[in-house]
Amino acid sequence: MIRLEDVTFAYQDEPVLRGVSCTLEDGCLTAVIGANGSGKSTMLRLCAGQLRPGSGRVLAEGREAAAYAPKAFARAVAYLPQNRPMPMISVRSLVSHGRFPYLGMTRRMHPEDEAAVDRAMEVCGVSALASRELRTLSGGQRQRAYLAMLMAQGSQNLLLDEPTTYLDVRHQLELMTLLRQLRDEGRCVLTVLHDLRQAAACDRVLVLEQGNIIFDGPGSGLYGSGALELAFGIRAVPGAEAGFVPVKMAPDGI
């Protein structure tokens, strides 16, 4: 469970989050959507303990990130950023790195670590790719490998920043299915998404607009809420839930 209490954050003097409060429950898949620069990634980084809030508190399992030792925090909260370098390592090694928070000074893997790695690879469907080099995989396979690493980390709370970017529709759907599986295991899953249809299919959606949560409710209520008009300047076409039309143009015409 992750809880944000009136959290603000600013880069230099530019406010990004302006008093965000919400509680992310276990066993719930929550999507965060919003226009570029609305504060989605910042909110995720705050939850991941990578940034400290300007004011307010971020609690993971009831404690602030600063109260944890780094590895203990990693065992509670796992985070997959959007941009990552591409190391020259195999899938199995990548997934094994998910066990880092459990290893001692010698970095030796124990049988239970190996078992966790095996299981994570199986669930994410990358067991057959175990010995393949990361850079030889397709985008979808690679994303599943990273998700397996996240799973091997065994944290109760999972944070993902745009995990479906660059994936084709099929792989996007597969990835969302995996996230639902993790939710069914009772984990708290929070993901930034761009695709509104996928967001609407989540248990809960948060819409961010200029650093404020302007919608917080079940995914099924997203289209009729009016939040999309505020956040993106679009609205759902009545009766055709999957289609959108622009309702106003931004000054620069985009």
């Binding site: 065992r75 990552r84 370098p85 190391p87 020259m88």
Partner: protein, 323 residues
């Protein structure tokens, strides 16, 4: 691969012991050494070739491992101890000590270490400050390297007497090797080699990117600095007795990465062996090709290593072009 490189190193070391300017029989010499007979061949092997072989192995191993670490820490395959000024820093402080306190031979590795560490921390600081794209860090390193190199040149120009025996130092080589220098450096370098191996796995975590490494519970900054301290001891130690041997630290990690992939737990020992073997072989060639004259091994390493490196790059280019 590990066994093959170990064999290669063993062969290189044996050749290095039995070949040289004076044509002595290795077996006769070795036999005398083992018997404790104080013959001329025994003395040549024990007091000239053995220290020299050990020095070549140690310098090659240390510089290669330093290269692996620096490339890993900066996530930059273009980096290397000679590229980003770590060697140059070690060289400058070594020359400075030699010029100011010529008698302090035992302190040379420490001085070299201080210079190497100063240079690498400066790079790290700049990398942090500039938000550093890979290219910027390398460019900054090249600038620092040439500044420190100019400092060394200035020192040798202004004070030619004190730094006279240092001319081979600037090129890099083992002709001016003394047992004292080797021994005092070994005290630093051997533990650092062990530490480099123990900490190699952490380079893989750093390779996942700062955000992922931090989210896995790693102290990213602390790990970086610690790794660079080890790399500085390695590079500084090597420079203190072998001079500014460039290139080994850049090309060996690269070549080995081609052979065994990028996982550091494997790359580190393989690079250590490969670097030791390459340097030993180059030193052997350097002193036998034009015997009894000898070319500094630094020249040979660049002459041979340069084309080899270009070939590697072209080979990779072709392979990547093919997909």
């Amino acid at each position: 691969m590990f066994a093959m490189l170990a064999l290669l190193l063993l062969a290189a070391a044996l050749f290095s012991l039995c070949m040289g300017a004076s044509g002595i029989s290795l077996w006769a010499g070795l036999w005398d050494v083992l018997q404790g007979v104080d013959s001329a061949p025994a003395r040549i092997i024990l007091h000239i070739r053995l220290p020299r072989t050990l020095a070549a192995m140690l310098a090659g191993a240390a510089l290669s491992c330093a290269g692996v670490i620096i490339q890993g820490v900066l996530s930059n395959p273009l980096a290397g101890p000679n590229v980003i000024g770590v060697n140059a820093g070690a060289g400058l402080t070594t020359l400075l000590l030699a010029a100011l306190v010529p008698s302090a031979v035992v302190l040379l590795p420490a001085a070299a270490f201080a210079g190497a560490l100063g240079a690498s921390l400066l790079i790290l600081f700049l990398a942090d400050r500039m938000g550093a794209s890979r290219m910027t860090v390398v460019l900054a390193g090249v600038a620092i390297s040439s500044m420190l190199g100019a400092g060394s040149d200035l020192l040798t120009t202004l004070n030619p007497e004190a730094t006279q025996d240092m001319s081979s130092f600037l090129i890099g080589g083992f002709s001016g090797l003394t047992a004292v220098r080797l021994r005092s450096a070994a005290w630093y370098v051997l533990p650092a080699l062990a530490a480099a191996h123990l900490m190699a796995g952490d380079l893989d975590i750093l390779g996942l990117g700062d955000e992922v490494a931090a989210s896995l519970g790693m102290h990213v900054r602390r790990t970086r600095v610690l790794q660079l301290v080890v790399a500085s001891i390695l590079a500084g130690g090597a420079v203190s007795f072998a001079g500014l041997l460039g290139f080994v630290g850049l090309i060996v990690p690269h070549a080995m990465r081609r052979l065994v992939g990028g996982e550091h737990r494997c790359l580190m020992p393989v690079s250590m062996l490969g670097g030791a073997a390459l340097t030993t072989l180059c030193d052997l060639l350097a002193r036998t090709m034009f015997a009894p004259y000898e070319i500094p091994v630094g020249i040979l390493l660049s002459l041979m290593g340069g084309p080899f490196f270009l070939w590697l790059l072209m080979y990779r280019g072709r392979r990547e072009a093919r997909g």
